[in-house]
């Protein structure tokens, strides 16, 4: 880890380790009300990026809230799309 300065507050390699925090965020998103397995959560520079597609705006709000809670002081950037519920404008011909 490059972030050993912020990782020294008592539990090295534990709760303050970004890699483990990302893993814990992923677990929490699955466990909690959104049951979201489809988010991509990656460390980029000194931020964490959360991206993916969710079924509703409420789900997006929950993912953003949980990410900010779980990642504490680490800056979080989100790029989360709400799935489009409109009918398609054309079919695909497979013949």
């Amino acid at each position: 880890m490059t972030d050993h300065d912020t990782g020294r507050s008592g539990r090295e390699g534990g709760a303050d380790n970004t890699e483990y925090r990302i893993a814990h965020l992923q677990e929490r998103l699955v466990r909690e009300e959104v049951a979201e397995l489809g988010m991509r959560i990656e460390s980029r520079g000194n931020t964490v990026v959360v991206s993916g597609t969710v079924p509703t705006a409420e789900c997006r709000d929950t993912v953003v809230r949980v990410a900010k809670e779980e990642l504490g002081g680490t800056p979080v950037r989100t790029d989360i799309v709400v799935a489009d519920p409109t009918a398609p404008d054309r079919p695909e011909e497979l013949a």
Partner: protein
Amino acid sequence: MIRVAAVGDIHMGPDSRGVLRPAFDTLHDCADLLLLAGDLTRHGTPEETRVVAEEVTGLRVPVIAVLGNHDHQDERPEEVTAVLRDAGVTVLEGEGTVVDVDGTRVGVAGTKGFGGGFAGRSGGEFGEPIMKEFIRYTRRCADGLRTSLEGLDRQGCAVRIALTHFSPVPDTLAGEPLEIYPFLGSYLLAEAVDAAGADLAVHGHAHAGTEHGLTSGGVRVRNVAQPVIRRAFAVYHLEPGAERGTGALAGASR
């Protein structure tokens, strides 16, 4: 021509009540049947399933579904299935169903499927009991798919479709991290499709994947996870009697 509408991974809950209904109400104009490729709910609760049921009740096209892993989360898949069946949905697990489209018999064989990975990079039935059971479970799903596709052939279906939640091929996973491919599907499903033959294989599960793929036997595969198709559903037009992957060898020789 047979018009197949399909979507998976709609992940409905109380906050998505009615979201898909306006699009689904247009289905009878553009499709002959609707396939639901699993993960219809978030946790597989009866309450969430009732939201799904309301979206599809009374549609003027037959609705055929498989469950996904999310629909198993609450460990009540029988109740999820019962709520969907009460809403008129045909729920498949290791079985097939036949839809008559203007005199053409269209067969759909379905299983949730499971993981294990893809040829040359897959888990095996070896070691700890839980590891053996992992792969055996996938194998049972794949066997059910093959047997149902074969049954549909014997029933004279001019078009046969394999419907799964997990992916039969890695092609449609492109965009997902390589490390999680073994949790996204299994080659055993593709082998079943190629052995029995089919005109199309439809799956969901891989939200970051891509829509288009092909089994090694030449059967077209489509990942219809809603985040992938970015619409309420996708529509595929199939010509009865067109070429199909009738067995891996036939496919490979084309």
